[in-house]
């Protein structure tokens, strides 16, 4: 007897739909590896806010951080660019400077820090004090537009699409008996397709959406003999998908839209993240 009540709450009669009409699809995603791209508007707005904040910031209390007469204090003082102080008999067309603690109170303060360049080759991993050069956010796969690579489009979520029955779609598997959960069917099916050198993390056992087919066409309402595809979500953690004799692609949301059937996208588009 079933006592579990999950998302589905409506009471129902026991199903009598043959198991060969149930399939399960896996939305396998690669989560972003680097932070998202900042839009032009956001970047400029943040810059404006940062400049306002700098303008309204209190003067850097040098005496708090540097003891008077120490070498550090002298070095710090030496590299600062102090503004020109007000002087009797000098005309300042942009207004008389108002210096307090070596800062013109009318403007933001520029604090220069000693830029100690570390020596050595940045690729020399033995050298602990090697200079830091960040890696490029654009990878080799981006340049060659290798759609089968997991290293493309680092700031985006990528989804695995395969070509099954001449159509691009999420990998879909037939459910054979009702003793195995849908996500487990999908995960094991994925390994049969692309080898077991892959580590995935199944989000949940409950399906994220359902697509109904009648005679190969996507329909909204279920009639007799309708094939159901339950979409399960999963993330790839490590390893790779290397199928034999099967086309596959790792695509971002808008690329998925360009490749799959428009009707199919209508059913799955909202499940994909930007």
């Amino acid at each position: 007897m079933l006592h579990l009540r999950g998302l589905a709450t409506a009471a129902s009669s026991n199903g009598s739909i043959p198991i060969n009409l149930i399939r399960t699809s896996l939305i396998l995603s690669r989560i972003p590896i680097v932070t998202p791209e900042v839009s032009e508007f956001d970047a400029k707005f943040y810059n404006y806010q940062e400049e306002l904040e700098k303008r309204l910031m209190w003067t850097f209390p040098k005496w708090f951080y540097f003891k008077k007469g120490t070498v550090a204090e002298k070095e710090f003082t030496k590299i600062q660019k102090y503004p020109i102080p007000a002087h009797r008999g000098v005309w300042f067309p942009k207004g008389v400077p108002e210096l307090k603690h070596g800062r013109d109170r009318r403007f933001k303060q520029e604090v220069t820090l000693a830029n100690k360049v570390s020596e050595g080759d940045s690729q020399d991993l033995e050298n602990v004090s090697r200079p830091i050069t960040p890696n490029s956010r654009i990878t080799e796969a981006d340049k060659t537009n290798d759609e089968t690579s997991l290293e493309r489009k680092l700031p985006r979520t990528l989804y695995l699409l395969v070509k099954q029955d001449g159509k691009w779609k999420f990998p879909t598997f037939q459910v054979k008996d009702d003793q195995v959960a849908l996500n487990e069917v999908a995960e094991s099916g994925l390994r049969e397709l692309g080898g077991d050198k892959i580590n995935t993390w199944s989000v949940s056992g409950t399906p994220a959406a359902v697509i109904k087919y009648s005679n190969g066409e996507i329909v909204d309402e279920g009639h007799e003999g309708v094939v159901r595809e339950y979409l399960m979500k999963s993330h790839i953690v490590a390893g790779q998908f290397v199928p034999e004799g099967l086309e596959y692609k790792w695509l971002a949301k808008e690329e998925v839209e360009g490749v799959v059937d428009p009707k199919y996208y209508e059913k799955v588009g909202y499940l994909l993240s930007n």
């Binding site: 209190w58 009318r106 890696n135 499940l271």
Partner: protein, 144 residues
């Protein structure tokens, strides 16, 4: 007469000057200096920047910028909520459908997964990628 007088007064003058010179050269004693430094650290007036006064045009421009930002943000939040709502509806529809189609599979899908944890291997997005972008050489653990 004058020179004699001046000569007579000279040592006293020199003494006074020397004393003043000495005082200014030595500066404050360390305790007093510490008090001055601490007061300087605490005093707000000397460290605060001048008040930011915008002319009317720039004030209106500033208002426009902030308004555009908030309208944009509101719109983004609205879109996100819409997508979340759709996703919830999709889950609900699929679950109800599964329950109708096959109760056994529905039961399995809602079974509690004991000890399920978020995988530590999933990395948090960083500003720049690591030297090795993706870990390919994964070997499945031998099951006992």
């Amino acid at each position: 007469m004058f020179s004699r007088l001046a000569r007579r007064q000279l040592p006293a003058v020199r003494q006074l000057q020397q004393a003043r010179l000495k005082r200014s050269k030595a500066g404050l004693n360390p305790d007093a200096q510490r008090v001055v430094t601490q007061l300087s650290v605490m005093s707000a007036g000397r460290k605060m920047p001048k008040m930011l006064k915008l002319c009317n045009e720039d004030y209106v421009k500033h208002k426009t910028i902030m308004k555009a930002w908030s309208v944009r943000r509101k719109e983004q939040i609205r879109e996100e909520e819409e997508v979340l709502k759709k996703q919830y509806e999709g889950m609900k529809e699929a679950s109800e459908d599964l329950k109708r189609v096959n109760e056994r599979l529905f039961e399995l899908s809602n079974r509690h997964e004991y000890g399920k944890r978020f995988p530590l291997e999933l990395r948090v997005p960083t500003e720049y990628p690591a030297r090795q972008v993706w870990y390919y050489d994964y070997v499945r653990k031998r099951e006992e």
